[in-house]
């Protein structure tokens, strides 16, 4: 028996298989491990950001700052490495705690002053993007032996796919987040907040601690994504990741997470990112379509999925409505 909760997840998985099938049927070499492994390595940074975004959205919030945090952490890393000759690991060790602080600040504002996450993280977005541009308007190239080593680190899959450092980092993070969400109290609290934050508080959920931790995680994951992005581009650029927060939100929604919070799965988001990636790959293989068709298809997909969400949540709304009329 299939629960309604898993329905969007299954639909996304089915669409992913369908797209893969169509691509494989039309083009030679589409249905191969090379394409699959490229999907992961090309989208590693988006996947990492989307993990954090899933958490935030399940808790009933949103984080618009992540795209800008990617740029800021990328620029900061490349400046520290190239201009100040820091070892990359040292630079990362500085950047991640700063990002955590940044997320904590947003979480505190959201919790203590009961501000809308939308507006707080919008302010965070401008702040981070502005800081990144102030640090350097130009793209900063990274030339360091550590980066060369990272690029070579990895193994070849049978059939020619390549699993590199970025993919491995993502997979480790994915496993961690899944364990966090489903096997820790914190994860249950995140779902609880998204379900009904007032009830959660009355049931003894530490709302302040949980809210702050959620935004800390999202910012740290975004900073990590920024670092992984520098592995990909060998540079840091203040205008990198513009609009990536929206891609992440789209992936989360396509992956079946309710924008109103309380319901969703990290694995759905991964499927969401991969689906978006497969569509892009298909368009590249086709060659005649403009790459903007990716956006058109994603737009249509989003419409479909929010409609589906509405229909599903109307079902649950019926049961909740029955509860609230119990007043004499």
């Amino acid at each position: 028996m299939m629960s309604v909760r898993y329905l969007p997840l299954w639909i996304t998985a089915a669409l992913l298989c369908l797209m893969f099938g169509i691509g494989g049927w039309q083009f030679d070499g589409f249905a191969s491990l090379i394409v699959v492994s490229n999907l992961f390595s090309d989208n590693a940074f988006l996947l990492i950001v989307a993990l954090g975004m899933t958490l935030v959205i399940i808790s009933g919030g949103i984080d618009l700052s992540v795209g800008a945090v990617i740029a800021l952490s990328g620029v900061a890393a490349s400046l520290l490495i190239s201009q100040y000759q820091w070892h990359p690991l040292l630079a990362f060790a500085l950047i991640l705690p700063v990002a955590a602080l940044f997320g904590a600040l947003m979480g505190v504002l959201i919790h203590v002053y009961k501000l809308q996450p939308f507006i707080v993280t919008l302010a965070g977005m401008f702040l981070a993007r502005g800081l990144a541009t102030t640090l350097s308007e130009e793209s900063v190239a990274i030339d360091h032996s550590f980066y060369d080593a990272i690029a070579e680190f990895g193994f070849v899959l049978p059939g020619g796919g390549w699993v590199g450092a970025s993919t491995m980092i993502f997979i480790v993070l994915l496993l961690l987040v899944i364990v966090l969400m489903h096997y820790s109290r914190f994860g249950t609290y995140v779902y609880a907040l998204g379900g009904n934050s007032q009830s959660a508080e009355l049931m003894g959920v530490p709302v302040a601690r949980t809210t702050i931790a959620i935004y800390v995680l999202s910012s740290v994951l975004a900073a990590l994504a920024g670092i992984v992005f520098t592995f990909y581009t060998f540079s840091g650029y203040a205008l990198a990741g513009v609009g990536m927060e929206l891609d992440a939100i789209a992936a989360v929604v396509i992956g079946g997470t309710l924008l109103t919070g309380g319901s969703g799965f990290v694995i759905g988001t991964v499927l969401g990112v991969l689906l978006m990636g497969v569509i892009q790959t298909y368009i590249i293989f086709d060659g005649s379509l403009s790459s903007w068709w990716t956006k058109i298809v994603i737009g249509l997909l989003l419409f479909g999925f929010i409609l589906l969400q509405k229909l599903l949540s109307r079902r649950t709304a019926l049961t909740t409505a029955a509860r609230s009329t119990a007043h004499g």
């Binding site: 489903h182 249950t188 998204g194 009830s199 509860r323």
Partner: protein, 499 residues
């Protein structure tokens, strides 16, 4: 029996909200191994007291002793940690989580920091068997009925509670066999030494299960009694106001005998609530609706105002039969309602006083015949002056006013369209004494001007003061109708209590 020990003691606890004193010097003693009923009419302060006791609200002053230690809980989590758990009036669980997760949220069995889902589900299953619930505990809570959710909420409280269990109206959505099951569990816990606070408005249940009773009224403690020593009539007296007995019948606004009937309810019923209610309201008459919470007072008001559809009977208004499909129809006919839930059904918080007053008039004019701001201001100023609404100016958001002044604004909203029948559902609930008296005076003067009123109130003293007659409801049916010399507070009380 050994002398029971005091678990929780509240001394002189006060809680003030802007404009309202929700709790005034309330004392409460809770002993280990007893079921302590906390009683009072709607708005008496029971729920506020529970929230203060369990850390959901901060007290304004007073002291709380838990196991003889002076303490006050900063949050529900802190109270739970100490061993006080609460089942709130509305089911406060998380519909999106599984039954097992709801039962053990924050107390999940863990190994190496990881939640043991299987163990948790087994424990959940066992816990629910005590309530004879054999359900899939891994399914989301939202899939189950309100009654089951209520039992789950109670089971959660039972699982958490070490010393004190607070049940705020736990039986409201349970049927009688479920209630008996709950009582069995409560007795078990009591025998294990747990102190249980039980809030309800079903007096039968109070006498079935309680050892001790504390009665609140208007935010103050009326008294603490042993259940065995307190006859039902005296309990109701305490809940509705003890001083009533000494009150003599005040001269009510008598209606000339020849006055025409404005409203006639002919054996009306609403599916799932009131049944077979008939009453009449004459031109310029104020009719009171009396009864305990849940007796059907509010439901009658809603039916006459067209909120709930009739399943039987008819409403005649001014000689014609009314077919009400929605409140707008009632307003068009000349019926207005000031609802009981002022905050959620009456005011529009962020809008100004002027805008709140204008709503009904503007709605009746239709949106394309916009009333010029200048006229609106004049009208608002007129009512602010006439009803003595305490505010520096008409542009202040209504949510910043005290309860009494908000009520006056809502009255002004309806007076502006000059209805023939004004329904007031608990018009004086939760407002301070001064505004209270003013609203009563206003009701009287409206009657004299020929407006008809249908008023519900828990304050019998109040009803007797202005009503031409009082209709008594019990169990969503009409019990009797009192007027003239028989319309006294003790008589009404008797009618409410009997049965």
């Amino acid at each position: 029996m050994t002398t029971p020990s005091l678990v929780l003691e509240l001394k002189q606890v006060c809680k003030h909200f802007p404009g309202v004193k929700a709790l005034q010097d309330v004392d409460l003693r809770l002993f280990a191994g007893e079921v302590h009923a906390l009683l009072g009419e709607n708005g008496a302060g029971k729920s506020t007291l529970v929230k203060v006791m369990t850390g959901a609200l901060a007290k304004s002053s007073g002291e709380i002793y838990f196991n003889s230690q002076n303490c006050s809980f900063a949050s529900p989590a802190a109270a739970q940690q100490a061993g006080i758990s609460t089942v709130y009036q509305e089911v406060n669980l998380l519909p999106n989580l599984s039954v097992a997760q709801n039962l053990f949220l924050g107390h999940e069995p863990r190994r190496f920091g990881l939640i043991q889902h299987q163990k948790m589900q087994q424990q959940a299953q066992q816990l629910l068997l005590r309530f004879k619930l054999n359900i899939d505990v891994s399914a989301p809570l939202a899939q189950y009925s309100v009654a089951v959710q209520q039992l789950i909420a109670i089971a959660r409280g039972v699982a958490m509670s070490a010393k004190v269990l607070v049940l705020d109206e736990p039986t409201a959505s349970l049927d009688s066999s479920e209630v008996q099951m709950l009582f069995d569990v409560m007795r078990q816990l009591r025998d294990q030494g747990v102190a249980i606070v039980f809030i309800t408005h079903f007096l039968d249940q109070v006498y079935q299960i309680s050892d001790r009773i504390t009665v609140l009224r208007n935010g103050s403690k009326v008294g603490e009694y042993l259940a065995a020593d307190l006859p039902r009539a005296r309990l109701i007296e305490a809940m509705l106001g003890k001083e009533l007995q000494q009150l003599t019948h005040q001269a009510a606004t008598t209606t000339p005998a020849a006055a025409e009937l404005l409203l006639v309810l002919n054996n009306i019923a609403v599916k799932g609530s009131i049944s077979g209610i008939s009453l009449t309201v004459a031109q310029g008459q104020a009719v009171g609706l009396a009864g305990l919470l849940g007796s059907g007072r509010t439901e009658v008001c809603r039916a006459v105002y067209g909120v709930d559809a009739l399943s039987q009977g008819e409403i005649q208004f001014g000689g014609r039969t009314l077919r009400l499909q929605q409140p707008a129809d009632a307003i068009k006919a000349g019926i207005a309602l000031c609802p009981e839930e002022r905050k959620t059904e009456g005011i529009i918080g962020p809008l100004s006083i002027r805008e709140n007053i204008m709503l009904a008039l503007q709605a009746r004019r239709g949106w394309w015949r916009y009333l010029p701001v200048k006229q609106q201001q004049q009208l608002a100023a007129f009512y602010i002056d006439k009803l003595h609404i305490a505010t520096p100016d008409a542009e202040k958001p209504i949510e910043q006013l005290s309860g009494g002044n908000q009520q006056k604004v809502i009255l002004a909203r309806w007076l502006a369209i000059n209805p023939q029948l004004l329904i007031l559902d608990e018009p004086t609930r939760g407002i301070d004494i001064g505004a209270h008296a003013e609203i009563l005076l206003l009701i009287k003067s409206l009657c004299q001007q020929g407006m008809s009123l249908l008023v519900t109130s828990s304050e019998l003293e109040e009803l007797v003061a202005f009503a031409g007659k009082v209709v008594v409801l019990r169990d969503r049916q009409k019990v009797t109708e009192l007027s003239g010399d028989t319309m006294t507070a003790p008589h009404i009380m008797q009618a409410i209590a009997e049965g």
